[in-house]
Symmetry: C2
Subunit: 569 residues, 2 copies
Amino acid sequence: MKFSQLYIGTNKIARTYDSVNATLLTKAGFIDQVMSGVYTYLPLGLRVLVKIEQIVREEMDTIGVEVLMPTLAPIDNWQQTGRLTRVSVLLKAMPANILAQKVHNQEYIVSPSHEEIVTPLVKQYIQSYKDIPCAFYQIQTKFRNEPRAKSGLLRGREFRMKDLYSFHASIDDFKKYYEQVKKVYMNVFSRLGIGADTLIALASGGDFTEEYSHEFQTRCETGEDTIFYAPKAAIAFNKEVAPARAQVPEVKQTEAMKVKTDVLGEGIVGVTELVRYLRIPVEKTTKTLLYETDDGRTIAAAIRGDYSINEYKLCRALKTKSVKFASNETVKRVTNAEAGYAGVLNLTGDVELYFDDSCQNRINFETGANRTNYHTINVNFERDLPEPRKFYDFKVAKIGDRYPETGEVYEAFQASEVGNIFALGSKYANDFGLVYRDDNGAAQEVIMGCYGIGTSRLMGVVVEKFHDEHGIVWPKSIAPYHVHLVSIGNAHKKAMAVYSALVSSGIEVIWDDRDESAGVKFTDYDLIGIPWRLVVSPKTGDQIEVKNRSENESKLFSINDIITKFKNE
Amino acid sequence: MKFSQLYIGTNKIARTYDSVNATLLTKAGFIDQVMSGVYTYLPLGLRVLVKIEQIVREEMDTIGVEVLMPTLAPIDNWQQTGRLTRVSVLLKAMPANILAQKVHNQEYIVSPSHEEIVTPLVKQYIQSYKDIPCAFYQIQTKFRNEPRAKSGLLRGREFRMKDLYSFHASIDDFKKYYEQVKKVYMNVFSRLGIGADTLIALASGGDFTEEYSHEFQTRCETGEDTIFYAPKAAIAFNKEVAPARAQVPEVKQTEAMKVKTDVLGEGIVGVTELVRYLRIPVEKTTKTLLYETDDGRTIAAAIRGDYSINEYKLCRALKTKSVKFASNETVKRVTNAEAGYAGVLNLTGDVELYFDDSCQNRINFETGANRTNYHTINVNFERDLPEPRKFYDFKVAKIGDRYPETGEVYEAFQASEVGNIFALGSKYANDFGLVYRDDNGAAQEVIMGCYGIGTSRLMGVVVEKFHDEHGIVWPKSIAPYHVHLVSIGNAHKKAMAVYSALVSSGIEVIWDDRDESAGVKFTDYDLIGIPWRLVVSPKTGDQIEVKNRSENESKLFSINDIITKFKNE
């Protein structure tokens, strides 16, 4: 391809966006933002996207068969699964004007996911145990009503995605397949050049399972997720679910018990303020939060002041589906105080009190006094209240925390999610009456799994990860071209010969044939980020200057050597 | 590919649809209807779609560069072109539930076409005359709020399409490119196996030009369009715009003039009824229809009773943008009668009277009497009213009509539209302020063209055209596989060897490896419609039975001969 035939070159006057990937991909002429979270893929960007999707396709073909489901889905199907009213990113389509309403007045779901299409589809084809397992995937455009879409290709309102759905006769068969998918996913990420930096982290399993789901997380300084990795145990967790033991104090403190006292602290409710006011270490403070569970219990959850409560973990600890903050009325009823002064002593009524294990091993700790404007200091288990029979873990993990199973301190780092896989159980199969007959002819539940890779998101992650101050540095497997030929000065004819030789050798080359200075062309080369730069100029004679995007040194080669080199690469 | 790994086979119990393509593609396991006009492409169907799109892509790459624009478009852009309220097939997307509204309450257009995206995009990159011409295309999913979607893949609410947009400095340059596109389009259709039966027909140019657009129409008995083709002139028209001269009477009739008479025919208003009542040939009757034009004129349009008025042609004849039927008040005012009795005599007021040329050369013709319940018979030009200075052509062409320029009788046939190209003029460029600077630095209008090929529609057209009573007959270039291997009886091992040999020779083969009877496999083969059937059975020894889908005879070949044959095909 000749640069002049792209029509769209780099766009260095483009605005700077909130994310590195949006800024670089826009300036380098790969994408154009149509509106927040919605992009056009320009010629170079589309080539990258297609290469990513082709790698995904080749790997998926080893474990499933490709289909293409529609974007528009019947409203009824979403009603049937209960997701019509519950999914907050759901968009619907309808006639856009009065004329259109007259023509055909129907509403459709604009699909963010395809369980509602694939399950009824498969139902037509699955009768007996002989028809499963089976697995279908597609690579398609998805739509999400994202609240914020400021991360470029990392979080689109319209984005490209591979989604795979599998159907099984038993949990065992599902689990076997699930492990197979993990391997295939890692193959994809290896081929994309991010394999070594990608690991599988446990995350929330969503609404339909108590098990963890698995996220494929790629180390990346600008990543949206924090991963807690325990190297000895070789296990990683998304911060959202990471089990954690507080690092200090590890053993019971040894200072002498002091007199328990209620201290007036008018209007002082936050931990930071409290620490300053009471002049105690934050580790001595205690937050007590009141919740109501979906099964009608009232809960007081106490945690050390330097931690926050992770509601996902709290729900798992309480064995309940969801919690919400207790109403002001409930707070007053059980604490006899305004909100902000709840504590672990003297709670009234039928409230259940739970302690996070960060509350362990403390002497003379503080807690809300259950009395408006008062805090109690120098509280001690056994003396002032019984030591809890059990401590729980419902803290948001933080740096320095330990993995409870091995006691090792977590390695924590930022990462970008590049894929996720999870169990759907029989939720959707049951919603649509999808069953199979076993060898006795009896109807049995079908077990489903679903597995996603955001292909446009991947393009963004790769740029976040592989760039320098001059521009993008593409891995070879998804670079728009492998070779970027630059002709300088009066070398058009020579460049044409080199270009033709490369093209006829099947090497992917883009030739910057524009009438621009060497400086402009080199800057554009660095910005675009193709692996190899070839320079043809009058001063290099028959030789061609070859430089890799990641290196500073260039070397001279003959065209034949270059062709041999790239064909063997 | 092994048949068993498709998971989804033929579906002979599937319902029969209104169209052949939907019925056959569903039964053969290529598509699944999710709802009217919305389909899933199953493994075989997706292969065909991808092959069609790859052919389109390869040809388009010779005249433009590929991008991928989003489905979601800003409402504002559609406001800016005036199409937001005017396009009756327009859909919009919005939050689907209350939760979603709270998350992010925004509406988007769900694009049926991309002028509103491509024009602002190109505006960022075009400054001077040096930057044009340029042309961008995409292959993408489109959405239309179709009133009826009963033609399978021929008319989808969600469908796949290639759309190309070109940008030019002058009409001349645009026209040159337009002719180039015609050639490239014909290359596409030739490669799809429908080239010989596809011609370019003139059609309405849409709202922004008085010129015709060009439709690529493929002869097909079940086609939705009627084409009028004049072989000598080598010109074809869509019925919607075909100029036409009535075949009879060609020369002035010679009977004697009779006495003009008003005949009472109470409540008789339709031509069929009138002919029966008055006992005159239909050619002697005259329909007079009253219209109001968008520039405020009142028009009486008279046409021979056996023709209908083509409003598109009428507008062109009247040099007006649009016409609508006159109100009952206007009809009464200008005819002094109830609606249904309008005629060409004694019209009152400022009504302008136009005659279609089918009214020429008649003696003793009938017309409405402009008097409720009365018809006037034996009317003659010159005696009863002046012969019009000019006759027009605003009739709907019908079989037997002549092409006015050459006088030859049209050949009329049904056809399916497979592509269309048209001039956009400067409409969208002006809407978005897209201009270029000429070599004097002055801003000049950019001329645009747009060019579509419905790729999923093409799949439907091919099936409508190429099928027999047993199933589909795919052209080789887009068949899902080239070879369909059938193993019968105890020949699994032998079939496996043949399959491996074909695969390793790079021949696209699907092997029906199921444990089914020969009858079931042969029936499925015919239904699916792959070009070559290979049968391996114990009784053929080392030989393999080879049969083409279009032929009845099979022949025996060795595997080596078969491989040689197919590799050279």
